[in-house]
């Protein structure tokens, strides 16, 4: 389903030193610093899997999602998703994926949720029948009956997230990307989201790729865990590969991350 091979991505970031003189210089010439966001990443994901991408902030999780969803070009390497090269066949590929950014909304802020759904119907060219079926099903599963007539700005974060997820599934995508889907949600909403994702995966065999900092998400959802640090693949296994006896998952994870720091130091010396 998803194939990444030796994918490399570097960013150029403008560097600016402190002080008026440096600031004046920066007006005319900028110095750049290269940051390697992905350093030769290879991975394969099969249809129907739920995979959690883990790693500290700035590790390359978002870059991976952006490359897999076609927003970013890689510098080099092979990317193939469901038979498409995402960044080359954007228009056709995006019909097959759904993406939810936990921190941003794709719904119109001031109109009822249902209005945004109607617009999505036109954007994805969904047939009337499919649209009705999907909307009904998602409304039941995610408990949206009361919410569809409410403007988005009046929804709580958890309610909004449920609507966001529904919105990204109206066109029955084969792959669902979730970037921090449970961030800031209360316990009830978190549970609802997790249950729904599991059910979606079981019933429709939708492939789900999510990033999260919440280890309970990982425990509840994914058999497979991929850990990225400093742009490299550190671990491709299960949650048990992280877990250690007598520690909470979070503690074990912190140790793991500290290990990455060490990796960085070795490189320098």
């Amino acid at each position: 389903m998803i194939h990444m091979e030796n994918v490399v991505k570097t960013y150029r970031v403008a560097r600016r030193n402190a002080g008026a003189k440096a600031a004046f210089k920066a007006l005319f010439r900028r110095e750049y610093q290269e940051i390697r966001a992905l350093d030769s990443i290879s991975l394969d994901i099969s249809e129907g899997e739920i995979v959690a991408l883990l790693g500290p902030n700035g590790a390359g999780k978002s870059t991976t999602i952006k490359i897999l969803s076609g927003i970013l070009y890689p510098d080099s390497g092979i990317v193939e998703c469901n038979g498409f090269v995402p960044y080359k066949e954007r228009m056709r590929y995006t019909r097959e994926i759904g993406v939810v950014f936990g921190q941003r909304t794709q719904l119109f802020w001031d109109v009822p949720v249902a209005d945004s759904f109607e617009l999505l119907k036109d954007i994805y060219d969904i047939s009337e029948q499919t649209f009705q079926e999907n909307q009904q099903e998602l409304t039941e599963l995610l408990n949206l009956q009361e919410l569809l007539r409410t403007p988005v700005r009046q929804l709580s974060l958890g309610q909004r997230m449920r609507c966001e997820i529904a919105g990204s599934l109206l066109h029955s995508p084969k792959i669902l990307f979730l970037d921090e889907p449970t961030i800031g949600l209360d316990a009830v909403s978190k549970l609802a989201v997790r249950q729904f994702i599991n059910r979606l995966n079981e019933e429709k065999h939708t492939t789900v790729i999510l990033t999260t900092h919440d280890m309970q998400d990982v425990e509840a959802l994914s058999k497979r865990v991929i850990m990225i640090g400093k742009g490299r693949l550190l671990l491709d296994g299960t949650i048990d590969d992280i877990r250690k006896e007598g520690e909470s998952l979070d503690e074990s994870l912190v140790e793991f991350y500290q290990g990455i720091e060490g990796l960085g130091k070795e490189e320098k010396s």
């Binding site: 008026a20 600031a23 004046f24 007006l27």
Partner: protein, 267 residues
């Protein structure tokens, strides 16, 4: 005094962060200046006798106007103050041991000075290099320069005291946007920002020159080139000072009243 100076320094530092914006602003002002001068030149050519100023005096007026735009614009408000008024956060401001009027006055003064400081010198430098009669002429004499600077300060203070009246009125209203937009655009027109006062029809002009709006940019910008001189100049300066007093006192009263109400309502 020191307090107010530190406001100015803070503002200048904040402004320095937007150097590129300042460059873009200067480019805009050059362009604006040239376009205005070209247009006035077409009017001048159509009938030089009907032109109410010397052409070089008009060119100087426009370049000074562009260079000191930030000092005299009636559109620049302090957004912090506006949101404070509309959110009812006034009582926090009262907790500080300074007079509301003086503090807001100093804030606005600092904001305008820092924004003008970043921009005016390059505009003036280039405008002086533009050939006669399109460029900025040198002041007629050091005496003119001195009077220009004195009335520039008076005009700036008068402009801010006008803004203070608007802030004062805003404290009495639920939504001040309408009145602000209206008063700002009227003042903009009457103060000679759209066309200099000498271009108004003579009867209108006679009244306009008595109004406070005439004391803002009109007086310094015309004294610089000698367009305003003699008895008319003395009268204009006296009016500047009188109106400044009237506006400051009226503003003080309005804000003191607002302070009282804020204390009574507890914010």
């Amino acid at each position: 005094m020191k307090k107010y100076f530190s406001f100015f320094k803070l503002r200048l530092q904040m402004g320095m962060q937007y150097r590129v914006a300042a460059l873009a602003g200067m480019a805009t002002q050059f362009f604006w200046g040239f376009m205005l001068i070209f247009a006035y030149h077409a009017f001048y050519e159509s009938n030089p006798d009907a032109f109410p100023m010397e052409f070089s005096a008009l060119a100087s007026y426009i370049w000074l106007q562009q260079a000191f735009l930030m000092l005299f614009t009636t559109w620049r408000f302090d957004n912090d103050i506006l949101s404070m008024i509309s959110d009812g956060g006034l009582s926090y401001e009262l907790a500080r041991p300074v007079s509301l009027y003086r503090m807001w006055f100093a804030k606005n003064l600092a904001m305008r000075l820092s924004e003008a400081t970043l921009r005016f010198a390059p505009v003036l430098l280039v405008a002086i290099l533009v050939p006669k009669p399109y460029g900025l002429s040198l002041p007629k004499s050091p005496w003119h320069l001195l009077l220009f600077l004195v009335t520039l300060v008076l005009g700036l203070l008068l402009t801010i005291s006008f803004l203070m009246l608007i802030y004062g009125l805003s404290t009495r209203m639920l939504s001040s946007t309408g009145i602000r937009v209206f008063l700002s655009s009227v003042m903009e027109f009457l103060s000679g920002q759209i066309i200099p006062l000498p271009f108004f029809p003579d009867k209108v002009r006679f009244v306009l020159e008595l109004l406070p709006s005439a004391g803002m940019q009109n007086v310094p910008l015309r004294i610089y080139s000698g367009d305003l001189s003699g008895a008319a100049m003395v009268r204009a300066i006296v009016l500047q000072i009188v109106w400044l007093f009237v506006f400051v006192i009226a503003g003080e009263l309005l804000l003191r009243n607002a302070e009282k109400r804020a204390v009574l309502q507890g914010g």
